[in-house]
């Protein structure tokens, strides 16, 4: 029984990582109705930028803030430069551009910053391991940060006119334009915010998994699964989905099929759930008109 509790706690700790990245995916989906497959790579790049700033001697929280701003700008620039020219192209072309972006940022990060594994500092430190060493102070702290970001995202979309305009621009660009929403800038803003949230996720994840150019490669799939499981249009659902994926995967690995197939089984379960509830556990059911 103790083993089970430990697996669940470890799963929640890992799930926090997925939840953070899932939030970034929800952000970009809310703003553009796309899932950016290069989101993970962009977050890794942001984390490397943060490390460079910290190594230059800047205090952690200042570097944290600076990285968020830089990442926001990168996100906006990417949208303006790379997505704008293909905005009227078919969706599949957009996915093609995402793949190109993934290749450029993934390979470029290694080229610029090197490939070795690097330690990334954490602002939350304690000498005393918590819960029998299964959870570090950092993991608790980063979960709090994730929840904080979640609250901000929720408030932003529900209670600010900018958030409303952004959702409108993504949901129905033509009508939004008619009521005076500057759709182009809304998309760019969405990319910027998603990149900023991705940067936060990267800085929270890196102290746990260690930083290298492929840090997010595996995480993105889990985060994507978590976001869809919870409901891609529901930030809180995505966070819960992220935690659920972490726990589910651990339990599958420890008690069901062994570690070799734990990802496979976890994904199969998630897809099974989605077949029953196609818009996720907490997603809104959308009906379409002919």
């Amino acid at each position: 029984m103790e083993g089970l509790a430990h697996q669940i706690i470890a799963g929640i700790a890992t799930g926090g990582i997925y939840a953070a990245v899932a939030l970034a995916l929800v952000m970009i989906y809310q703003a553009t109705h796309h899932v950016n497959f290069a989101q993970g790579e962009m977050a890794t790049l942001s984390t490397f930028i943060a490390l460079s700033i910290i190594q230059a001697g800047v205090p952690y929280w200042l570097a944290f803030l600076a990285t968020i701003i830089v990442s926001f700008v990168i996100g906006v620039v990417v949208e303006r430069v790379l997505m704008r020219p293909v905005q009227n192209a078919p969706v599949l072309t957009h996915v093609g551009v995402f793949i190109g972006l993934l290749l450029i940022i993934g390979n470029g990060t290694g080229w610029i910053f090197g490939y070795t594994t690097k330690a990334f500092p954490s602002p939350f430190s304690s000498e005393q391991p918590l819960l029998g060493g299964l959870v570090s102070a950092h993991e608790l702290g980063s979960t709090a940060v994730t929840l904080g970001v979640l609250v901000l995202v929720y408030l932003f979309f529900r209670h600010t006119s900018l958030g409303l305009a952004m959702r409108a621009a993504a949901y129905n660009p033509r009508s939004a334009r008619l009521v005076g929403v500057r759709v182009g800038w809304m998309l760019a803003l969405g990319w910027g915010l998603a990149a900023a949230i991705g940067a936060v996720a990267g800085m929270m994840v890196a102290p746990v998994v260690f930083l290298d150019p492929n840090m997010m490669l595996g995480i993105l799939l889990y985060a994507f699964a978590g976001a869809l499981l919870g409901g891609i249009d529901n930030p809180a659902g995505a966070v819960i989905g992220g935690f659920a994926v972490g726990v589910l995967e651990n339990l599958a690995g420890a008690y069901v099929v062994g570690t070799e197939l734990k990802l496979t089984v976890a994904l199969a379960i998630i897809i099974g759930v989605l077949v029953v509830k196609p818009s996720g556990l907490f997603g809104r059911v959308v009906t379409s008109r002919v």
């Binding site: 690097k118 998994v209 651990n250």
Partner: protein, 402 residues
């Protein structure tokens, strides 16, 4: 029917073997002022952290060229990207052999990738030298006389750990954490070699995928089996995670780490140097971050090379010391060739290296080959992390054949 087909095949094979544009001299890939050498590496994709090896090899050859080359010839080292995908390795290797007409192949990266070309290079009798992989199947001179590895095999390393455990704790319960690929599986095989029928009773296994974000779940599972020894066949990022997590949950097994992941700068410092105290590995290289080698002539030679030829390289990355060692071996073979760079002679020299000291290898660890023994580096030494650096103990271990 069959005979005529054989003859036809032989004829086509002969036309394939003789290049359509016949060069002036007999040895392919060699002219009066050039030796062409080919290689593949993962310059892109998830395995591209190894691309620094090619970069370092190119730099070593450049230094050699600056110093006059080999027998008056400049080395032209051609590297192509295979993205660690076996079909592309075959494509790029065929490009090197059939289009660029290289003299031979050197230090291609990866086990599955080299497997894809193993038969091709041996059928064509092209030297396939000093591969960048620790699988043990490359030392098979009877069936594959044209292929030779370099580093000690992972399997041998795992055998050393298993034997050490049996000496220390004959009744140990062993936990084995490995990456679910050819690299990690070799540790399972090595431990199985030593334990034989007792393997299933003594060993608990947990694997992870290279794409897994963390390995916490596996460590929790292994700890709950009550194991008192832990062998890890995992890459650096997971090694740092494992060392830290095992320490944090208060588990104190006799812990062994593959020598792939024991760099002071890349693994031990990120994990927390005090958390790895007591960790054991078995290595053949000097760790460049170890203060013991601060004034070592061999390592100074390497540092001087890095400063002049790869000034922006990360000094903590032990792919650079690996590359320096394997390139030194290659240069030794080329020097031994005299003026005959035919494929036959290159292979003959590569398999007749007298015990040789290499700058970046531990004292007592030699590079050597014989025509019937393709294990180039056969020696390793156990070492233990004391919180600051690796401390060697016991003698140099030669082989571990059970």
């Amino acid at each position: 029917m069959t005979t005529s087909r054989r003859a036809l095949l032989a004829a086509t094979a002969a036309t394939l073997a003789t290049p359509r544009i016949a060069p002036a001299q007999q040895a392919p890939g060699v002219t009066a002022n050039e030796i062409r050498i080919g290689s593949t590496n993962a310059l892109s994709g998830p395995a591209s952290s190894y691309s620094v090896i090619s970069r370092a090899l190119t730099a070593v050859f450049k230094r050699q060229n600056d110093q006059g080359g080999i027998a008056g010839r400049q080395i032209n080292f051609i590297v192509y990207d295979d993205g660690y995908q076996p079909p592309r390795t075959l494509e790029q290797t065929r490009r090197l052999v059939e289009q660029d007409r290289v003299a031979f192949l050197f230090n291609q990266l990866g086990t599955p990738t080299n497997s894809a070309i193993h038969r091709y290079v041996n059928q064509r009798k092209i030297p396939h030298l000093f591969l960048a992989t620790g699988a043990d199947k490359w030392a098979n001179p009877k069936e594959y006389p044209w292929t030779i590895g370099w580093q000690p095999s992972y399997r041998t390393e795992a055998q050393i750990y298993a034997k050490h455990i049996l000496e220390q704790k004959p009744d140990a319960k062993i936990a084995l954490l490995y990456q679910n690929d050819d690299f990690g599986k070799d540790y399972v095989n090595g431990v199985r070699d030593v334990l034989g029928p007792r393997f299933d009773a003594m060993v608990k296994l947990a694997s992870h995928e290279a794409t897994d974000p963390t390995i916490d779940s596996q460590i929790v599972s292994l700890q709950s089996t009550g194991a008192d020894a832990l062998i890890c066949g995992i890459i650096p990022r997971f090694a740092a995670q494992a060392i830290r997590r095992v320490h944090d949950i208060g588990w104190r097994p006799l812990m062994f780490m593959t020598n792939v992941s024991v760099s002071g700068a890349v693994v031990m410092q990120p994990a927390g140097p005090e958390k790895g105290i007591g960790l054991i590995t078995s290595d053949y290289r000097k760790d460049q971050s170890d203060p013991a080698w601060a004034n070592d002539p061999g390592m100074n030679e390497w540092r001087d090379f890095m400063r002049r030829y790869i000034p922006d390289g990360e000094l903590g990355d032990n792919n650079y010391t690996y590359a320096y060692g394997v390139a030194s071996t290659m240069l030794q073979v080329l020097r031994q060739c005299g003026n005959d760079f035919s494929r036959e002679n290159v292979m003959r020299q590569a398999t007749n290296i007298k015990p040789l000291d290499v700058a970046t290898l531990l004292p007592g660890v030699k590079v050597q080959t014989q025509p019937n023994n393709y294990n180039v580096i056969r020696q390793m030494q156990l070492q233990r992390w004391d919180g600051r650096s690796w401390v060697r103990f016991g003698g140099v271990i030669e082989g571990a054949n059970v």
